[in-house]
C-alpha cells in the first residue's frame, strides 16, 4: 500500500521551492536537458537506496523523495522555464 499523504505534500513543497530555480542566472556554465536527465537518474538511484519511506509504505522506493524531485523539476519547467 502506498500512503498518498507524503506524495501530495512532497509535490506541494517541491513545487514551492522549484519555482525559484532559474538557471539563466548562471554565467559561465550551462544546464541543458541532458543535465536534468543525469539529475533524475542520480536521484532515482538515491530514492531506491533510501528504500521504503515512510516505513509503512510498502513500495521499494522513497515515495516522498521521488515526489519532491518530480515537484521541483515540474515547477522549474512550469514557472521558471524562460529564465
Amino acid at each position: 500500500m502506498i500512503a498518498i499523504g507524503p506524495i501530495i505534500f512532497g509535490l506541494i513543497l517541491g513545487l514551492i521551492i522549484g519555482s525559484q530555480i532559474k538557471t539563466g542566472n548562471i554565467s559561465d556554465t550551462s544546464f541543458k536537458t541532458s543535465s536534468y536527465v543525469v539529475i533524475i537518474i542520480a536521484a532515482l538511484i538515491m530514492a531506491w537506496q533510501l528504500g521504503e519511506f515512510p516505513f509503512y509504505d510498502y513500495f521499494p522506493l522513497s515515495s516522498a523523495f521521488a515526489s519532491a524531485l518530480i515537484g521541483v523539476l515540474l515547477s522549474k519547467l512550469i514557472f521558471a522555464r524562460s529564465s
Binding site: 513543497l13 525559484q20 556554465t29 516522498a64 521541483v72
Partner: protein
C-alpha cells in the same frame, strides 16, 4: 569558484532539497522533523549561493517570496494550535485528521497517516515548521551575502 564546483553545485542542491523535504515528511516517525528538514533545504540554497554568488545563483528568493512563506509557516502553526484549543480544550491539542467527525472517510485516508502511533496533526505541524525554517535560514544567508557585497563595494570605492 572553479568550473567543477559550478557544474556540480546545482544538482547537489536539488538533491539536498529533495532530501530535506523527505525529512520533513517523515518527521513524525523518524529522526528529524520540520526544523531539521528545513535546515537541509536551506543548506541546498546556501550551497548554491556560496558557489555561484549572490545575484548569479540559480536558487534565490525574492523579498516577497520570503515574506509570504515565512508568514504562511507561522500562521499555519498558530491556526493548527487554535484548532486544538477550540476542539480539544488545549493549545496544540492533537485533534487528528478527523476534526469534529465531519470529514468523509475517503479524505481522511489521504490526510491521516496510517502508522501505528497515529500521528494526527504532527506531520502538518512539521510541514509548517519546515516552511518557516527553510525560508528563515535562507533569508539570513541571503542578507549576509548582500551585506558582504555592500562592504566589498564600499572598500573598492
Amino acid at each position: 569558484m572553479s568550473q567543477i564546483l559550478k557544474l556540480i553545485a546545482l544538482p547537489i542542491s536539488i538533491i539536498l532539497i529533495c532530501l530535506g523535504i523527505m525529512t520533513i515528511l517523515g518527521g513524525h516517525i523518524t529522526p528529524g522533523g520540520g526544523f531539521q528538514g528545513g535546515a537541509m533545504i536551506a543548506a541546498g540554497v546556501i550551497l548554491s549561493i556560496l558557489v555561484y554568488g549572490l545575484g548569479n545563483s540559480p536558487i534565490e528568493f525574492s523579498h516577497t517570496y520570503i515574506e509570504v512563506f515565512e508568514s504562511i509557516g507561522a500562521l499555519g502553526y498558530i491556526v493548527l494550535g487554535l484548532v486544538g484549543l477550540f476542539a480539544g480544550g488545549f493549545f496544540l491539542y492533537n485533534v487528528g485528521a478527523d476534526i469534529f467527525n465531519i470529514i468523509p472517510a475517503s479524505i481522511q485516508t489521504v490526510f491521516h497517516y496510517p502508522d501505528t502511533t497515529n500521528a494526527g496533526i504532527i506531520p502538518y505541524l512539521n510541514i509548517f515548521v519546515g516552511l518557516k525554517v527553510f525560508v528563515g535560514l535562507s533569508a539570513i544567508v541571503i542578507a549576509f551575502a548582500g551585506f558582504k557585497k555592500l562592504v566589498e563595494e564600499d572598500a573598492e570605492q
